[in-house]
Every structure is written in structure tokens, then in C-alpha cells.
């Protein structure tokens, strides 16, 4: 059996069978799912409870016009009852008490009483309803005074909402529908994913190297195998641990979503959707006139289709692998160079700085993918994995992509060479505080 394979196997199995790995792998998707589902579930439950709101209207302008919205019911009451309820609101069946004063048209103010802290959207709902009624009323008066026939319909016809269809013109003159929103999300998401993976599993490689050095087992091992076999087994084994974790997460998330879908029937889902719409207040009436859903979904799908999926997928895998190799071989070298945890920080920072920088730049790159920052950050190999990937959904010039990839390959090979040199010398070096200058010297050692 190949020795690299034996090392890889041990590296993989000890990590995957660790309790902490099993716990995080199982808990993270559950927590994520809980984070998404619990608030929605709570919202949907709360809204099923019917809330009666007592309304005392001094103006009598709104009588019968408030009706019911969602699970909130408006009931108009007389003055005596209002005073009685106001004195003892807690003891009544009412959730809240709305007082519309006689001078509402001049003050634009109403009062809402409740023994409890009221949800934000309730105030918004009332504000919207009352404003709408008053607005319609005022407009009707204006329409009547002016005396132009069919003014109402004419005004309604003036309601306009413009939608921009972004079209990307390719070099061949072909027009493609594109969406900067979809591209932005893809760009930011993938950039972040690469950053997360490279950082997390690069550190894992580093810790694993440090462990072997600290346990003093490394000399026994390098007397049986070549240091590069040990390092390769470690890096590939750790990458497989990462992939296993991601695979389990994907399966679990899909599993959890499927289970949840069977819990939430189409009606409850619709209900949830509606309550979310309601809570977003003003937007609702505007959109009601538009032929929404079906069209927009197919449009989003079309836009996703316009992304260069094969290029992005290839880019993702390419930068994922090269970025991980680049950083993990350098972090492995850092792990080999130091003796203890405290000295690590000093050497880790210069190595991980470009990675941190690229996550800082990520947002601005996703926003303006053709700027100078985006260009340089995606060409320089240390920031390229995150930054070029973030540019790919925006179809950057192909020569830039090729240049970035070539530089990436060259640098990764260089990093592996540097990493293995430092690694070879470092793992057998004890009791010496290592500086960057010292590391450069190690590169010149033979053999």
C-alpha cells in the first residue's frame, strides 16, 4: 500500500471520527435550519390568534371601513364603552384600543392603547389603513370639486412603475438578459465560501502539523516516509474531511427542508408569505396591480441561466483547490516552524493577511467588478481565489481570467516548494524561536 495513502487514511479517519467533528457537522445545519424556520413559525403562530381591536371614532368618518385584516379585527364602540374600557383595558376581551380624535384631519394623529407591548406591524397597519381612507376621501372631494369627468380613472391610469431590464451585450453583439442582483449574490456567496473553507481547513492542517511536532512523533514518521509524502497525505486528507463535512451539510439541509415542507402545507406557506407581505406595509398596494409571481420567478431563472455556469463551476473548483493548496502548504510550514501556540500568531498573520484582505475587498468587488481594485485583487495570486471568483459571475475579460489562473498555478507550485522546504527543516527543529528571516535561510538548505 502506498505510504501517502496510509497517512491520508489516518489523517481522515482520526478527524472524521472525532466527537467534535461529528457534533459540529450535525449541529450546524440544524442550527441554520432553526434560525430560518423558528422566526417564521413563531410569526405564523402568533398571527393565527385573532386580535380584536376596539375603535372609538369621534369623527364617525371611518365607521365600518376598517373591517378585518389578517387576524386583526376592528370593532367600533360607543363613547360610554370607550371610557369604561379605557379605565380597565386588561380585563376586557380587547387586544388594544384605538382612539380616533375629532380633529384627526388637522392633527393627523390617533392614539392606540394596550396593556401589552404592541407588535410594530400593528401600528404600521393602522397608519396605512387610516392614511389610505383619508387620502381616498380627500381625493374624491378634489375630483368632485374640479368636475372633470372620469378623473378618477384617468388618475388611476397615471400610476406607473418602471422596471429596468439589464441587457448584457456580448462581443458578438448578442444580447443577454442579466441581473446584477443575481450576479452579486452569486459573487459574494462564492467568495465567502472559498474564504471560509480555505481558512478553516488551512488552520486544521497547521494544527495537525504542530501536534506531530509537539508529540515528538514526527522524527519516527519521517524516518519511514518522505516529508513530502507526510505533508501531501495531511493536506489531501484534511481536504477530504472538509468535503465530507460540506457533503453532509448539503444532504442534511436538503433533508431538513424536505421534512419541514411536509410540515408546512401549501396553505400555511401562503399564510406565512402573506403575513410577511403585510408586515412590509406600503409595498403591498403598489405591487397588487402588477402581474407578479410567475413572471418574476421565470425571469430570475432566466437570469441565472445567463450566468456562465460552466465557467463559474470550473472557476469555483479551480480556485477552491489552488487556494486551499496555496494556503494550507504555507500554514503547514508555519505549524512546522513553531514550537508552541503563542509563537504561531506572529507567523500566521503574514500568511493569512492576504486572505483577510480579500474578504474585506469582497464587498466592493461584488459591487464594482470591473474597477481597478477588482482587477488587481483578482490577478494577485494570494487574493485571487476569493476575488477572481467573485468577479466570474460578471463575465470578466477572458484574458484576465487566464492570467489569474496561470499566476495562481505558478504561485501554488512555488508555495508548495517553499512550504515543504520550511516544513522539512522545521519539524526537526526544537527550542528555537523562529523569525521570518530565519525561515528565509531555511530555504537555502540542501536536501
Amino acid at each position: 500500500m502506498n505510504k501517502t495513502w496510509i497517512i491520508l487514511r489516518r489523517e481522515y479517519l482520526t478527524r472524521v471520527l472525532k466527537k467534535s467533528f461529528i457534533v459540529t457537522t450535525l449541529l450546524v445545519p440544524l442550527l441554520l435550519a432553526a434560525m430560518m424556520v423558528i422566526p417564521a413559525w413563531l410569526a405564523s403562530r402568533q398571527d393565527k390568534e385573532v386580535r380584536n381591536i376596539a375603535v372609538y371614532d369621534e369623527t364617525s368618518l371611518f365607521l365600518g371601513q376598517l373591517g378585518q385584516e389578517g387576524f386583526t379585527k376592528y370593532q367600533f364602540i360607543e363613547k360610554e364603552k370607550y371610557e369604561k374600557i379605557k379605565a380597565n383595558l386588561e380585563g376586557t376581551e380587547y387586544y388594544a384600543l384605538l382612539y380616533i380624535p375629532g380633529n384627526i384631519l388637522t392633527t393627523n394623529r390617533v392614539e392606540l392603547f394596550s396593556p401589552k407591548q404592541l407588535p410594530l406591524e400593528m401600528g404600521e397597519q393602522i397608519e396605512r389603513k387610516l392614511s389610505q381612507i383619508i387620502e381616498t376621501d380627500k381625493r374624491n372631494k378634489v375630483v368632485q370639486e374640479v368636475g372633470v369627468p372620469d378623473l378618477e380613472q384617468k388618475l388611476a391610469a397615471t400610476k406607473t412603475r418602471i422596471r429596468v431590464n439589464t441587457l448584457q451585450v456580448t462581443e458578438t453583439g448578442e444580447q443577454k438578459k442579466s441581473s446584477s442582483v443575481v450576479a452579486f449574490i452569486a459573487s459574494y456567496g462564492m467568495g465567502f465560501l472559498i474564504y471560509f473553507f480555505v481558512f478553516m481547513y488551512g488552520s486544521l492542517v497547521m494544527r495537525s502539523v504542530m501536534e506531530e511536532k509537539k508529540n515528538r512523533i514526527v522524527e519516527v514518521i519521517v524516518s519511514s516516509v518522505k516529508p513530502y509524502q507526510l505533508m501531501t497525505g495531511k493536506i489531501v486528507g484534511t481536504a477530504l474531511v472538509g468535503l465530507t463535512q460540506v457533503a453532509i451539510w448539503v444532504i442534511l439541509i436538503f433533508g431538513v427542508l424536505t421534512v419541514l415542507q411536509s410540515f408546512f402545507t401549501p396553505e400555511t406557506a401562503q399564510q406565512m408569505g402573506k403575513s410577511i407581505m403585510e408586515s412590509q406595509g406600503q409595498m403591498a398596494p403598489m405591487q397588487q396591480n402588477m402581474p407578479v409571481s410567475q413572471n418574476q420567478i421565470s425571469e430570475v431563472l432566466e437570469m441565472i441561466g445567463t450566468l456562465n455556469i460552466p465557467l463559474i463551476l470550473f472557476g469555483f473548483i479551480f480556485y477552491f483547490l489552488s487556494g486551499y493548496l496555496l494556503y494550507s502548504s504555507l500554514m503547514g510550514a508555519v505549524g512546522a516552524a513553531v514550537d508552541n501556540e503563542e509563537d504561531t500568531q506572529q507567523l500566521v498573520f503574514p500568511v493569512t493577511f492576504p486572505l483577510i484582505l480579500s474578504i474585506i475587498l469582497l464587498f466592493s468587488i461584488s459591487k464594482s467588478p470591473d474597477g481597478a481594485i477588482a482587477f488587481w485583487a483578482s490577478i494577485v495570486p494570494f487574493t485571487a481565489p476569493v476575488c477572481m471568483l467573485a468577479r466570474l459571475p460578471f463575465s470578466p475579460p477572458i484574458w484576465e481570467v487566464i492570467l489569474s489562473m496561470v499566476l495562481m498555478i505558478v504561485t501554488t507550485i512555488g508555495a508548495i516548494w517553499v512550504g515543504s522546504k520550511i516544513y522539512k527543516t522545521g519539524i526537526l527543529m526544537y527550542g528555537k524561536k523562529v523569525t521570518l528571516k530565519e525561515l528565509v535561510k531555511w530555504l537555502r538548505y540542501k536536501g
Binding site: T14, E219, S223, G447
Partner: protein, 311 residues
């Protein structure tokens, strides 16, 4: 017959010369002591033999052929800086290390069972290293060094961490391995074990080999021509007989038995001394004062350091 040899090996680290023109030859089935003060270059030499580092120049031969990286499977190496994975079960760990030396899982299992039982640690198979005492860990380490039946064994301070009983057990195992044909290189600062175990030694100081030879030869070369006698008789007569060719270093008179310590200036051997003295005194005991390996070590290293300083 030379099983293993090193010829003209040089190694430089940055500004420090670790090995200068070192050559060694180790016979098959012998125990070779590699001695020297701290920082002399022993560990570097051992790492070169194990193919962990490469020499700047010079060559390493095994069975007359230049050594290649696949030869490491024929070596069992117990480094001075040694340890095990703390969180891994001992049995799994031993199998892993044996596999890295090219054994199959199955044969590793079989061989490990044998040795674990022999060393009475079979019950520890599923324990983690952190639960073990230092001595136990050393036992496991010793087993993993020899498990693949290497033809060349390199032990660097093998007895540290052992109590006298276990140290003796390991010593017997090392002798047993030699009797079964293994060639052993043994590095230690403990000179009494060198005298017990080694057939041949080389002493390295400040990157150079300064002494090399069979233990008996070395001792013979360093003999001091000092003799110690207990006798019954008259001291003045004895002193007269010894005359000019001897220097009397010490003498004590205790009535019936006197003791004298003399230095033979011409160095003709012990029989001359006896022949001279037998007519004048009754000799009760006679002993040539032979230097210990410890004395030789100190003398050789100090005189080599003085020479270096003069240059």
C-alpha cells in the same frame, strides 16, 4: 565484513559545520557505539543514515550498495526526541507505524500481538497514549522500532525513561537482536552501557571523528601502564627492585598488607613487573589499572578541544 558504511560525509548548516569528512564502517551482527558530546553532530549523522537529511557530500552504503530511500524499510530507528500520538489508541498507532515501514496490516497485527504479550502490555492495546506511564510509552516505542525486523537498528539513548528492571529487559532484547543477525548502531552518553554492549565505537567531537575502533583495542591503546599491587614484604626492598624504570605513585603500609601504585615507564607489560617483584615480596593481588570508557571519553574530547583552541 562491513554491513554498513559512511564515507567522507560533510554537512553544513548555514554557518555551522555539523559533520566534517566523517567515515565509519560497521560490521554485520555487531553493536556499534556512536559517541560524542552534545552538539557534536551525532544526531545529524543518524538523520543522514535514515535519509531524513541529505549530506552535502559523501556517501552512505548498505551491504556494499549506495543506500536509497527504499532502504529505510530495512532500518529501525528510535530517535532521542520521540513520542506518540496522544489521542490515538496504542494498538492502532503501532499498526500505523508498522504499515509506514512497509508491513501489511495482517502481519503487523500478528507481530504486534507477539511483542505486546512478551512485554506484558497486551492489556493496553485499546488505551490511549495519554493514559500510559512514561515507561509504558517507551516500551511501545521500542516495539514499533523493531516490529518490521529491520537488519539495521539505530537506537539513540534507548534507556531514558526506563527503570533498572525494564532497562535490563531492553538491554537483553538488544543483545538478542544482535545474536539474530541484526546490526546495531547505538548512541548514548551512558558510558557503562557502552562497555557492556558495544563491540566497536566511534567518537565524534565538533563535527569530526576523533576516535574509532573496537572497544578492546581502544582500551588497550589507552592503557596507562599503571599497576596496583597488594603485597606482604618490605617496602624499601620493593622500591629498590623497581629502581629507575618505575615511578611509584602511591604507597600505603598497613602492617601485614601493603599497597603500592606504580607507573611502568617503559611499558613492557605486566609480566615484567611480576618477575621483578616475586623474589622480594609475596604478591596478594595484582591489577593493571585500565581506564574506563568514561575516562577515555573525557580525555579524548578534552585533548581534541585543546588542540582546536591552539589552532
Amino acid at each position: 565484513m562491513s554491513y554498513f558504511s559512511v564515507s567522507n560525509v560533510n554537512k553544513v548548516f548555514e554557518s555551522t559545520q555539523a559533520l566534517t569528512d566523517v567515515s565509519l564502517s560497521v560490521n554485520k551482527g555487531s553493536i556499534f557505539g556512536l559517541l560524542g558530546p552534545n552538539g557534536a553532530g551525532k544526531t545529524t549523522l543518524i538523520r543522514i543514515i535514515n535519509q531524513i537529511t541529505a549530506p552535502d557530500s559523501g556517501e552512505v552504503f548498505l551491504e556494499g550498495r549506495r543506500m536509497t530511500s527504499s532502504d529505510v524499510e530495512k532500518i529501525g530507528y528510535l530517535p532521542e526526541e520521540r513520542g506518540l500520538y496522544k489521542k490515538m489508541k496504542i494498538g492502532d498507532q503501532a499498526i500505523y507505524l508498522a504499515q509506514l515501514k512497509g508491513m501489511s496490516r495482517h502481519s503487523a497485527m500478528k507481530a504486534l500481538k507477539f511483542w505486546f504479550e512478551k512485554f506484558e502490555i497486551a492489556g493496553w492495546w485499546d488505551k490511549k497514549v495519554e493514559e500510559l506511564s512514561k515507561g509504558m510509552q517507551q516500551k511501545v516505542q521500542f516495539i514499533t522500532t523493531i516490529i518490521h525486523q529491520p537488519q539495521l537498528l539505530i537506537f539513540d539513548e534507548p534507556f531514558t525513561g526506563f527503570d533498572p528492571i525494564n532497562a535490563n529487559l531492553i538491554k537483553q532484547e538488544i543483545l538478542g537482536l544482535r545474536d539474530n543477525g541484526a546490526t546495531i548502531i547505538f548512541s548514548t552518553h551512558n558510558m557503562s552501557t557502552v562497555e557492556d554492549l558495544c563491540d566497536h565505537i566511534a567518537l565524534i567531537n565538533k563535527s569530526r571523528k576523533i576516535l574509532d575502533g573496537a572497544v578492546t583495542e581502544v582500551k588497550d591503546n589507552f592503557k596507562t601502564n599503571i599497576f596496583e599491587l597488594d603485597y606482604k614484604g618490605d617496602y624499601s626492598k620493593v622500591a629498590q627492585v623497581l629502581g629507575n624504570s618505575f615511578t611509584i605513585l602511591e604507597h600505603t603500609e598497613k602492617g601485614l598488607s601493603n599497597r603500592i601504585k606504580i607507573l611502568h615507564l617503559n611499558g613492557n607489560g605486566s609480566n615484567d613487573v611480576l618477575q621483578l617483584l616475586m623474589p622480594v615480596a609475596e604478591i596478594k593481588s595484582f591489577r593493571e589499572v585500565v581506564p574506563s570508557m568514561n575516562d577515555i571519553f573525557i580525555r579524548v574530547v578534552e585533548s581534541s578541544n585543546e588542540k582546536n583552541n591552539q589552532l
